[in-house]
């Protein structure tokens, strides 16, 4: 069995979670009940077990209604339970061991044994642990997030964005009806029965929350009472019926998302816009009330604290009623501007047809330092997604970025990134005869490699690297498929499956053959460090012949100790991000090899798509800590380049040059690629018209995406020295935004190293 620690933190968490409302003893009892139920259903179908376990959790996990909430639905998360992602709770029937260990401290010592018993049970039953036992490979394949490995893998069902149109059109009763029809048409099965039971559970959660609204009414002001009455009425309406009003639609969507355990929401303007527009038109709602309701949604999402998720997407092609949707968009833009929360990750899709006032409002919000919205160019993405995912235009129009920026097709595809690959580590291993210079461990996994002494040309070096990459790509597809297999053995993700095409039609859960498009993604790290390394090696070793390849290897392995001159030559070789043809061509060559390598393996394995995403949360820094010095002049332990951006400080040729470099890659080969850029307010706000035109050129040249941080020169440095004065300073790290002063020191350094334009 592979060595691994079940206590390894499973995801990036910058935001501090709100502690459970339930007392520790109540939590313990609930976890025991959950565990007992799980045990009792051993040998029953996974669907029966799942719904029985869900009934233990819900409605028990619902928290009280907070005084400012305008619709209902807040949940506690315990170290043991059911879920689909690692950012809140865990995956399938889960136990988050490090949290369970920490939980113990909340209990009196004589109760610790009870926790230990749970711990032991879940060691054998936690889904992710089961996966790790099968998927990990000593020294080669590690678990999320263990930075000693070149490849890390996990089991999770991230980024599900449900078909809320179906939910709105049918309501809970309509869903029941559709399931029953299919039950008759095909044949009855556990999935259908458990799905119906899930919808009943939904209705009882509505009742439970309606009770909570009545509790909250006690002693409330008349105004608050009215709000709570509206909330109660909405809950009682949507427990069976399809929504009529915006408040009902919002309540239905939210409660369903909570029970499904999804943390990305998708095209809310498309789903909720028509309800909102109608209510405004009919005078059922004022603009101010609409603003407050959306603000309440923003707060609900923020309070879930997922750090890297919470996507709300507005704008773009393929919406059913763009005019109504844009009404939602405009109000949402104001909310994003005024809230300054790190979540939701508010995202604007746009194309040439997007109304000018929406673009301007977006730039205003960005200019205010909100870091939102992030900008996605449909003119590039729609045709790109068609090719990347092999779908038609209508389908591609429903692409949505989730989490750190991976795409799925809303309501139609699974695209969870269960693999992360450190391309730079693999280059170092390729040049060191299979050994990772960081720890001296052989990570070649048996791939035959030439020692540097015998590599006579750049081409031989490059093809050796590609050979090792190919092997790691094989491991990637295997690990992704295995994650689906293991999850499917254990659970059906019932609530999610009900709202994903074509699970009901086929009578199958998402990973059991129900999902229309089975996709997946691989997060790549160090892509630009690799291409800049290759450019530098080509120049310094093979063209200028300053050192031999083996001498270079040795000097870099010593972290340039005694040979800083060599480091300087490497650092001064052409770098990506400067519109330099040599560096950018190399970056593209590496990109195409990696992108195609992953994509082809997915197609061969029968998936609709398996794509790289050049995304990033803060793993570029965390993995960098455990990555040796590299041939681009990067020091040992230093952060790697963020997403599709240059290594901090390497792009010295101005904003247009950087934007030109960013457009070099074929968006039709990846499943999302992130571009960060930093401006001073003087440039961004003082010369808005120029900035707007500059962005337009970038997007016309094939720029797919952009995320903007606005800071003054020296401001980040001041914030480091005096954090208390900068609690309000937001930065875009990559796949998430954060309060700068809450970040760890070297992550702050990475942010500061990025070139500031203006």
């Amino acid at each position: 069995m592979p060595k691994f620690s079940v206590e390894t933190p499973q995801n990036v968490a910058v935001s501090i979670k709100i502690p459970p409302e339930m007392s520790p003893m109540d939590q313990l009892e609930l976890m025991e009940r959950y565990t007992a139920t799980h045990r009792a259903y051993e040998g029953k179908s996974r669907e029966e077990r799942e719904i029985a376990c869900l009934r233990v959790l819900y409605p028990a996990l619902f928290r009280s209604i907070e005084p400012d909430d305008l619709f209902a639905g807040r949940l506690d998360f315990l170290p043991i339970g059911f879920g689909c992602v690692t950012s809140i709770g865990g995956v399938g029937h889960y136990c988050v061991f490090n949290k369970l260990t920490a939980f113990k401290d909340l209990l009196p010592p004589d109760e610790h044994e009870r926790v230990d018993a749970l711990y032991d049970y879940w060691l054998e039953h936690d889904l992710k642990t089961k996966y790790c036992r099968q998927a990990l490979k000593d020294d080669v394949v590690g678990m999320f997030i263990d930075c000693e490995y070149p490849l890390i893998v996990t089991a999770r069902l991230s980024g599900m964005m449900l078909n809320y149109h179906m939910l709105m059109e049918l309501g809970i009763d309509g869903l029941r009806k559709r399931i029953r029809e299919q039950q008759e048409k095909l044949e009855d099965n556990d999935f259908y029965r458990a799905s119906l039971a899930s919808l009943d559970l939904f209705s009882s959660c509505c009742d439970h929350l309606a009770d909570k609204t009545r509790t909250a009414m006690e002693g409330s002001t008349p105004k608050r009472r009215e709000e709570l009455l509206r909330m109660e009425a909405a809950l009682l309406h949507i427990r069976n019926d399809r929504p009529e009003t915006f408040v009902e639609a919002l309540q239905l969507f939210w409660l369903y998302a909570l029970l499904a355990g999804v943390i990305n929401y998708g095209r809310m303007d498309d789903v909720l816009g028509p309800f909102l527009a109608r209510d405004l038109r009919m005078g059922r709602l004022t603009e101010d009330e609409a603003f407050s309701l959306l603000q309440s949604l923003w707060t609900m999402i923020e309070n879930r604290r997922t750090t890297v998720n919470g996507r709300i997407i507005v704008g773009g092609r393929g919406r059913r009623d763009p005019e109504s949707a844009d009404i939602f968009t405009r109000i949402a833009m104001d909310v994003a501007h005024s809230c300054r929360y790190v979540e939701p990750q508010f995202t604007l899709r746009f194309d040439r047809e997007t109304p000018e006032d929406i673009i301007d409002a977006a730039l205003d919000a960005i200019g205010s330092g909100a870091t939102y919205p992030t900008l996605y160019n449909d003119d590039v993405h729609v045709p790109a997604v068609m090719r990347a995912m092999r779908v038609d235009e209508k389908t591609a129009e429903q692409y949505v970025p989730f989490g750190c920026g991976e795409f799925v097709i809303q309501g139609q595809s699974v695209g969870t990134p269960n693999i992360c690959i450190n391309l730079l580590k693999i280059l170092q291993i390729a040049l060191n005869n299979g050994v990772d210079p960081m720890d001296g461990i052989d990570k070649s996994d048996g791939v035959p490699l030439l020692p540097a002494e015998e590599i006579g040309s750049f081409d031989v070096l490059f093809s050796q690297y590609k050979r090792l990459l190919d092997h790691y790509f094989d491991l990637s597809i295997e690990s992704q498929l295995l994650s689906y297999e293991v999850m499917n053995q254990e659970v059906s993700f019932l609530f999610t499956s009900i709202l994903m095409d074509d699970c009901i039609e086929r009578g199958k859960a998402v990973l059991d053959g129900g999902i229309r498009y089975l996709g997946g993604t691989v997060e790549t790290y160090g892509n630009i460090n690799v291409s800049d390394s290759l450019t530098a090696i080509k120049k310094v070793v093979f063209e200028d012949q300053r050192v031999t390849l083996s001498a270079l290897r040795d000097a870099v392995n010593r972290d340039f100790d005694g040979n800083m001159l060599l480091r300087r030559h490497l650092w001064e070789a052409p770098k990506y991000g400067n519109d330099n043809d040599e560096a950018d061509t190399m970056a593209n060559e590496v990109f195409e090899f990696v992108a195609n390598g992953i994509r082809d393996r997915g197609i061969n394995a029968g998936m609709t798509y398996f794509l790289i995403v050049i995304s990033n949360n803060q793993l570029n820094t965390e993995w960098g800590r455990r990555t040796a010095a590299s041939y681009d002049g990067r020091r040992k332990g230093q952060f790697m380049n963020p997403a599709n951006n240059p290594q901090g400080g390497a792009n010295t040729s101005g904003p247009t040059a950087m934007l030109n470099s960013l457009t070099r890659f074929d968006a039709g080969l990846h499943g999302g690629s992130l571009q960060n850029i930093k401006f001073t307010p003087d440039f961004f706000n003082g010369h808005r018209d120029l900035v707007k035109k500059m962005f337009r050129v970038y997007f016309d040249r094939g720029g797919c995406q952009l995320m903007v941080t606005i800071v003054n020169r020296g401001e980040l440095e001041k914030a480091v020295k005096n954090p208390d004065a900068y609690r309000d300073l937001l930065v875009r790290v990559s796949g998430f935004s954060a309060v700068f002063v809450n970040l760890e020191t070297d992550i702050q350094e990475e942010l500061m190293s990025r070139v500031l334009y203006g």
């Binding site: 040979n563 800083m564 001159l565 480091r567 300087r568 030559h569 650092w571 001064e572 519109d579 040729s653 101005g654 904003p655 247009t656 040059a657 030109n660 440039f683 010369h687 120029l690 035109k693 500059m694 337009r696 050129v697 016309d700 040249r701 334009y757 203006g758």
Partner: protein, 301 residues
């Protein structure tokens, strides 16, 4: 001479302060004046000069034996450059592990310059931007009219930041190729101007007048320096001069010390350390004055 060569100190892309739209600014080596507040002092000499960045120097002594002029020595743990010996041969540059050395400029042909400039053609088209020449004094460069005419042929707007302290013949010869002249008007007092900058006020003003007569698009700029020209009476008389010359487009540049590090790298004293950095807000009174007098005033850039 269809591909003249120049000493180029740097090229800045995506600039937004030096003329309309997004621009690429090419900085040249060599200036006839010697303003104490110059923020690009390395561009003043007409030949490349050596910069040595003490913050990057680890005093390893690597460079010392490489200098053919024996201009380098290590004393008391510090590297000294004997400027009187240095001939800017550049041999010390590649051997320094810290990257402490650089030569102030490199030779580039107009073709090479334009190749860089044209990379942003799309941005110029969208924003009405183009090429800006700066320095140094661009008009002291042999062949600058060729570069400018080639830029015009390529469809770019052109802007030149000049002292105008040179013969009108030169300015006249480039008239067809320059869309915007940005000219420094540093002081209105003949003697003070000569003493502090080396410029001849009569020459500068007569050149501006002639440019106006010839229909050129002229913007005047004044770097506002505390204790030199920042008092309202002086500014008023500078503004008067501008109005008398028929120019109304005006830019005030608040004094800053951003060039200070470069003086250290050149081994030259920086004499303005005691002066206060001015903010755009500090300019508001002066700007209001100018506006009352009929000038169209912008602050900064």
């Amino acid at each position: 001479m269809d591909n003249p060569k120049f000493f180029v100190t740097s090229i800045e892309r995506g600039a937004y302060h030096d003329g309309p739209g997004l621009r690429t600014v090419v900085f040249f080596q060599g200036c006839p004046l010697h303003c104490a507040w110059c923020c690009n002092p390395e561009t003043q000499p007409f030949r490349p000069v050596l910069l040595h960045d003490g913050r990057r120097c680890v005093a390893c002594g690597n460079c010392v034996p490489h200098c053919p002029q024996q201009a380098l020595s290590l004393r008391e743990g510090r590297l000294h450059v004997d400027r009187s010996r240095c001939i800017s041969c550049g041999r010390c540059v590649p051997v320094c592990p810290g990257g402490a050395y650089s030569l102030s400029s490199e030779i580039m042909s107009s073709e090479e310059i334009l190749a860089v400039v044209m990379k942003d053609a799309d941005y110029y088209r969208a924003t009405g931007g183009g090429l800006t020449l700066s320095g140094g004094e661009p008009f002291c460069q042999q062949g600058v009219e060729v570069l400018l005419s080639q830029a015009k042929q390529a469809g770019l707007t052109t802007c030149v930041e000049t002292t105008a302290a040179l013969s009108y013949k030169v300015l006249e010869s480039v008239l067809p190729y320059v869309d915007f002249f940005y000219i420094d008007l540093k002081h209105s007092d003949r003697d003070v101007l000569l003493r502090e900058t080396g410029a001849d006020l009569d020459l500068v003003t007569s050149n501006i007048g002639k440019l106006m007569d010839d229909g050129a698009n002229v913007t005047l700029r004044t770097a506002v320096i505390p204790g030199y020209n920042d008092d309202l009476p002086t500014l008023r008389s500078i503004f008067h001069l501008a109005l008398a010359l028929g120019v109304t487009t005006y830019v005030l540049l608040p004094f800053h010390q951003l060039g200070r590090a470069k003086y250290a790298k050149l081994g030259q004293p920086y004499t303005l350390e005691h002066l206060k950095t001015l903010t755009p807000e500090d300019m508001s009174e002066a700007a209001a004055l100018g506006r009352r007098m009929g000038l169209d005033i912008r602050i900064g850039g």
